[in-house]
Symmetry: C2
Subunit: 183 residues, 2 copies
C-alpha cells in the first residue's frame, strides 16, 4: 500500500470550510423545504384560528406569550431577542398592544433608555384563554406523532439548531476583539 497520501475519506475540514466544486446538497435542500413546509403549514393554521376565534394576530399572541413567562416584565430588547425579530418591529407591536390595553409600558428603573413591558390584567386574562386553545391546537397538529417521534424530533432539531447557529457564527464572528474600524 502506498502510504504517502492516506485517503482520509471525505476531505479534511479546516476552520474556513470551503464548499467543494461539485458537492451537491440535494438531501439538505429537500430537508430544508420540508422543514419550511411543516412550519408554514402549522403557522398558517394557527394564525387563521387565532384570528377567527380571538381576533388576534399571531405576532401579538407570540409577544404576549413571551411576557406571560416574565412576571417582572421584559424590555423591548429582551422581546426582540427572544422573538428573533427586529427591534423596530417590537416597537410597533408593543404600541398596538398598548392601544388594545393588553400590555403596558413603563420606564425601566435604573436605565432611562429602556422600557419594561408587562401584560395588563386584561392582557393576562385574554392570553390565558387563548393559550389554552392554542395548546390544544398544537396538540392536534402533532396528533400523528407518538412520544418517541417527538423525542427524536426534539433531539435532531436541537442538533440542527446548533448546526445552523454555528454556520451563522462563522459569518458573524463575535467581533468586539478586532479594531477593524480604524478609529
Amino acid at each position: 500500500m502506498n502510504e504517502t497520501m492516506p485517503d482520509t475519506g471525505p476531505m479534511t475540514i479546516d476552520a474556513e470550510t470551503r464548499m467543494q466544486g461539485g458537492e451537491d446538497h440535494r438531501a439538505e435542500l429537500r430537508l430544508w423545504l420540508r422543514l419550511l413546509t411543516c412550519t408554514t403549514l402549522i403557522e398558517s393554521e394557527i394564525r387563521s384560528r387565532l384570528r377567527a376565534r380571538f381576533d388576534v394576530t399571531l405576532p401579538r399572541f407570540d409577544l404576549m406569550a413571551q411576557l406571560e413567562k416574565a412576571p417582572e416584565g421584559m424590555t423591548l430588547g429582551d422581546l426582540s431577542r427572544r422573538m428573533m425579530v427586529s427591534a423596530g418591529n417590537v416597537t410597533g407591536l408593543v404600541e398596538r398592544l398598548v392601544q388594545d390595553g393588553l400590555v403596558d409600558r413603563r420606564p425601566a428603573p435604573g436605565d432611562r433608555r429602556s422600557a419594561l413591558v408587562n401584560l395588563t390584567e386584561k392582557g393576562r386574562t385574554a392570553f390565558e384563554e387563548m393559550a389554552h386553545d392554542h395548546g390544544d391546537w398544537i396538540g392536534e397538529m402533532f396528533d400523528g406523532l407518538d412520544e418517541t417521534d417527538i423525542d427524536t424530533l426534539m433531539r435532531l432539531l436541537g442538533k440542527a439548531k446548533t448546526s445552523a447557529r454555528a454556520a451563522q457564527a462563522r459569518v458573524f464572528p463575535s467581533s468586539t476583539d478586532k479594531d477593524d474600524a480604524h478609529g
Copy 2:
C-alpha cells in the same frame, strides 16, 4: 408494592402535571417552538445572505425557484399554491420581478383570466448563480447532521406534515405544497 400501575417515570402529582379534563400538550408545544426556532434561524440567515450577496429578497428568490422548475411557466394561482402564500401576495411579487426584468408575464393560451409567468433569460442566469450559493448555504446550515439524521428528520417531518394536514383538513379542504416529491 402496588403493581397494577407500573411506574413509567416521573409521574409526581404536582398540580401542573395532573391531567384532569384537558390534556397536557407540553411536549408538543416544546416541539413546535423548537421547529419554529430552527426555521426562523435558517430563514433569517438565508435572507440576510441573499440580500448581502445578491441584493434580492427571500420571497423573490422563492418565486424564481418555483419558476425554474417549470419551463412551461406557471400561472399566478400555481405560484400561490406552491409557495403557500395568498394570491394577492403573488400579484405584487410578480409585478416587482417584472419591473426588475427577471420574470415575464403573458396571457395564458386558452384562458383569458390567467397569465403565465416565466423566468426571463436574465432571470434564469441570475437565479442559477444565486441557487448555487443558496445550496451551499443550506448544506452549511445542516453540516452538523449526518445522513441518518437527515433521513430520520425527513421521515418524521413527513409524518408531522401529514398530521398537520389532517388537522387542517378537519376545518378546510385543501391541497398542494412546496416539498412534494417531484422531479
